[in-house]
Point group: C2
Chain length 281, copies 2
């Protein structure tokens, strides 16, 4: 299997390019890829500094440079080095040019403008951190989403992920012995979503967690019968309150979050007759 | 200004597509865009359910469907509705096919495989939340990155952002009256990065924060002279310890995080002579 050097050249944070590369690479088996990451390339000088690195590790160059000068320069260099250079989002930019009847302008990093949407997202992150694990239930009404689920049903990382996409997210662990605060049953603004998972999977995850904490006592936390009861208790609560439920057993955090965002979209479409798209992020 | 309906159709979480759309749209002025988000479209049945919505809001269709059947069906539908349909990452996939000498397979969602990198990322999120705002300094040696900076220099959202990209990140507020734990000066594994910002900007942000908390007292927290001293104190600490510094004044969280990741990359390239790319995420 031969090795491929993959150079990601961006005039912004490079995040879009990284996600494109990841999504595209997922369609290939056992590729031996060495990634080289070149973000914030906004001048010819900066570009010229990385050219020796391209020459030293020849491979495929993917780029998202919007400034025509920098872009042309990279293409020239790649031509001289006989490296394939692919503009990663041109197909989409060109389709938008057609549809909008405008030419794309060449100013990089504009998607990181600190506009209202940006500050909303930063607020969502602060809110979410301050409302992890049942904390701050007094402010739950301000949340967009409240995730409820048994321990280790990935509430925290899913919340953080949703926060990054602009949703203020609180989460509450469901414990048989200690009922959630009453306000959970009376929330108007946030969508409450139940997270559940297969009891066997939960026992396994928790067992690993105890191992990593160097605790090997057999507690009810990992007792099969007990965990089954816990999951049943949570499911019944979801059903009694008409909360939508997502089974996270075979879902990654991103997939769970996408399912939650779908639910928010469905609710919004039901509630606001002239339908609008999801919140921009 | 005419309105454009933008349909994002994905067989996975749709996140890549959303970022591509955002990056491309940032190159246009004042576009009135209504986004319609269709993630997890993995069957003809699911696809057929959204076709009436495409027909009701005709516009541009961007897609990342890897399954050839679903993909062909979407393209057929769009042809019948006379809607332009753009495969958003095909240019990259095709370049990879050429380079790897393999055909892309049609299995969706593979980038969300729960592999080692995935669990590493989830760990990073848990770690980062547990080490926000100076908490848990005993475990700082386990971090990849420790961010130090005065209050409201965006340490927390930057940390969370880095966690999402797989970096265990701790952060510590620098306060003149209360020196940081001694361990900060002796860390071997993590890269310590100083965040700084213009004092005027800091006063403004803090003033807004107090307003939002309904506190309007004139405290030293927003006293110009005092804030200037605080920033100077932090800058001196960064210099004394040889920590790299990032000025966040005009940077978004994403840009600050990209700069931090750059610093980590530079350090790794210095330390590991046969250079490797950044960590895959």
């Amino acid at each position: 299997m031969s090795r491929l050097h993959l150079h990601l050249v961006s005039d912004s944070t490079g995040e879009t390019l990284e996600m494109i590369a990841k999504a595209a690479l997922a369609q290939f088996e056992d590729a031996d890829i060495v990634r080289h990451f070149w973000p914030m390339v906004r001048s010819k000088q900066h570009l010229d500094r990385i050219v020796p690195e391209l020459a030293a590790n020849p491979g495929l160059v993917l780029f998202t440079l919007v400034n025509p000068d920098t872009r042309e320069r990279l293409e020239d260099h790649c031509r001289q080095l006989s490296l394939p250079a692919v503009p990663a989002i041109d197909a989409v930019t060109e389709a938008l040019e057609d549809q909008l009847g405008q030419e794309a302008h060449g100013r990089p990093g504009r998607q990181h403008l600190m506009d209202d949407a940006y500050f909303k997202r930063v607020d969502a992150i602060h809110y979410t951190i301050a409302h992890d694990d049942g904390i701050g239930s007094d402010n739950w009404e301000e949340a967009d989403i409240v995730l409820a689920g048994v321990s280790r049903s990935s509430k925290t990382p899913t919340s953080i992920y949703l926060a990054n996409r602009g949703y203020k997210t609180a989460n509450i662990p469901l414990v048989i012995e200690s009922p959630p605060p009453e306000i959970l049953y009376r929330l108007k603004n946030p969508l409450v979503v139940g997270l559940t998972t297969a009891p066997e999977r939960l026992v396994q995850i928790r067992r690993n967690r105890l191992l990593s904490l160097n605790e090997n006592s057999e507690t009810s936390y990992i007792d099969d019968e007990r965990v089954r009861e816990e999951v049943k208790f949570a499911r019944r609560m979801f059903a009694d309150n008409g909360w939508p439920v997502i089974d996270v057993t075979r879902r990654s955090i991103e997939e769970t979050a996408a399912a939650v965002i779908n639910l928010v979209g469905e609710r919004d479409r039901r509630e606001i007759p002239p339908r609008v798209g999801p919140k921009p992020i």
